[in-house]
Amino acid sequence: MFLGGRPTVSESRAIRDPIHGFIRLNEQESELVDTGAFQRLRNLRQLALAHLVYPGAMHTRFEHSLGVCHVAGLLADSLKFTEDEKRLVRLAALMHDLGHGPFSHVSEEALELYADRSKLTAKGEKIHELITAILIRQDEELSRLLSLSDRDKIIALLGRGYGEPIVRSVLSGPLDADKQDYLLRDSYFCGVKYGVFDLPQLHQVLQSVADPAGGKQLMVDPNGIHTLEQFVLAKYYLTTQVIRHRVRLITDQMLLRAICLAIEVDQIEDLAAIYRFDGSLDFIMRYLQWGDSKFLQNFAADSFRGKCSHALLEGLHHRKLLKLVYQTRLNELHVNAREALKEISKPENRPKRQELEKKLAQCIEEGWGLTKYGTLDPSWFVIVHSYTFKSVKEQSRNDESSILINRPTPVFFEDASTLFQSIDEKLSETLVEVYAPVHYSTPTERRNLRNRLRTQITSILDTFFCEGDS
């Protein structure tokens, strides 16, 4: 038992939920919800620090996991799963997020950077998925409530799949229960209408189709194309407006930089221990102790004042954020810069990145002035970051192209949708941005700052990766 024992209540229950009304759990599910591993999800906000942009976004992975379990059950009913398939997908849905760490996706990146892969047998697996699998397999409370066979099936379902392909589609794929819940839930708590779609109608038009070669596949009724278009657009808008909100990108990068500085420069062992995954139970026990609030309160505490990581974490705590000082499309830079910046976050590129950020810091200091954090080297707080922004059509092609419309000869969604055929697909772009501790008071000052630095930063990015490279 990792988080201390407490009596479980063995009864089925109905839980009120603002998105789905009542979420009904059977006795086994109810007991799983009462375990320490599941209750811990109350300490992990679904959207990390998005509440700094959308104050209502305080919901957690706890209620999201309940919601995914509920939606998975509805999908299982719509697609006429067997009772055993339904039982397993609901259990897997309930437990799909158990391995998340503080600030979810930021911790995923940090785990990938600092895990001790030499001690792992599964070399290519994502670390947070390995943590989920270890928890499901070895946690004492979970082991008591689930047979070994069920635990193995759930781990397989959350990984490469188990049973019919359609069963896995409910847990992982373009129409999975996770997306269906988070679109509605994140929209609701952020107070936006971007992620809204017609969930009951979507379930009406999903079909389980026998593959003549064996197995069952998930397809959409030809009358459901508009419902699917609405779902795809909902996902696109929520991604662009909430998940990829410009301030949220900055807060995530600040967090990640703070973690890197805490481990590499400040050498804070308690923090390093959260991310040096080695596959052991000891690691899991430490890891599970941490949630979002505890992390911030602990490492932004006065006892760490003067440390590089403290400056950033305190900034996040008080919403004193780095500012976007530069943005350009990656394909406007020299081809060498494009390739190098695309993989600038990889651990092996750290020295090169530090060197680049030092140059950028010097440029910003000379051109505008950097806010100082005592005697700390200001280049630690200049962050270069690149990411891809896909058009709705590109997003639909990558993520939804595997959705088939169930015509006599099944066709891909993109080919069947008149709306998606007409969308200009040239709107995708990979952006490179620079964040820095600068001060401005008005939008005009902000514009002046960016205009003043634009040519110089472009020149640095263009030339930096060409020097000495073939």
């Binding site: 490469r160 392909p165 595997s402 990979t430």
Partner: protein
């Protein structure tokens, strides 16, 4: 070396162009099978599909390394499932990056080039024939043991797609050439 790099070198090996999204998926599937690389392929109605490969291809386009053109449009779903054919071609920048990748990953380039040449020599299949070959091989591979010609033919017939006997023959011949199927003598006369 990641999917981005592998895909760039694959374009280099296939002469800088891949015609059709299905061809892209299936050629990369066979390449990954021949080289023993995991590119995230999973089961799909029309044969193995990897969203990782699809995403990497989009990124190459976004970075200005590929151009995309729609070669044909209009419904011909009576004969097949690809309504509009999307062709991808390396740009000048793309070719420059491929050249730099060849120098950076010489051993991997040699393998990918070799596999690409073997795939080309196995015959220029249309997207439907490639799908038959890929799906049949994927399903048999998951069951374990070598794929037998007769099993492949039987399986391909079950797909229910609008394919001719000649399509199936070419698909099976393709797999045999690649060494992914063993010839057996128990194929029924209908073949």
């Amino acid at each position: 070396m990641d999917t981005h790099d592998i895909l760039l070198l694959a374009y280099g090996a296939f002469g800088g162009e891949i015609r059709g999204k299905t061809n892209l998926q299936k050629k990369l599937y066979f390449l990954s099978t021949m080289l023993g690389i995991d590119l995230g392929y999973g089961p799909h109605y029309y044969g193995p599909y990897s969203s990782e490969v699809a995403a990497a291809n989009t990124n190459l386009k976004v970075l200005g390394y590929l151009t995309e053109s729609i070669a044909s449009a209009g419904s011909y779903s009576a004969e097949g499932f690809e309504i509009a054919r999307h062709d991808f071609r390396l740009t000048e920048d793309g070719r420059a990056v491929v050249e730099s990748k060849k120098k950076r990953f010489p051993a991997e380039w040699k393998k990918i080039k070799g596999a690409g040449e073997t795939l080309d020599a196995a015959g220029e299949l249309n997207y439907m024939e490639l799908s038959i070959a890929a799906k049949a091989y994927f399903l048999l591979d998951q069951r374990g043991g070598p794929a037998k010609t007769a099993d492949l033919v039987r399986m391909a017939r079950q797909f229910g797609w609008s394919v001719t006997q000649a399509d199936i023959e070419r698909a099976v011949g393709f797999l045999q050439y690649l060494g992914l199927a063993e010839a057996t003598g128990d194929v029924d006369p209908g073949m």
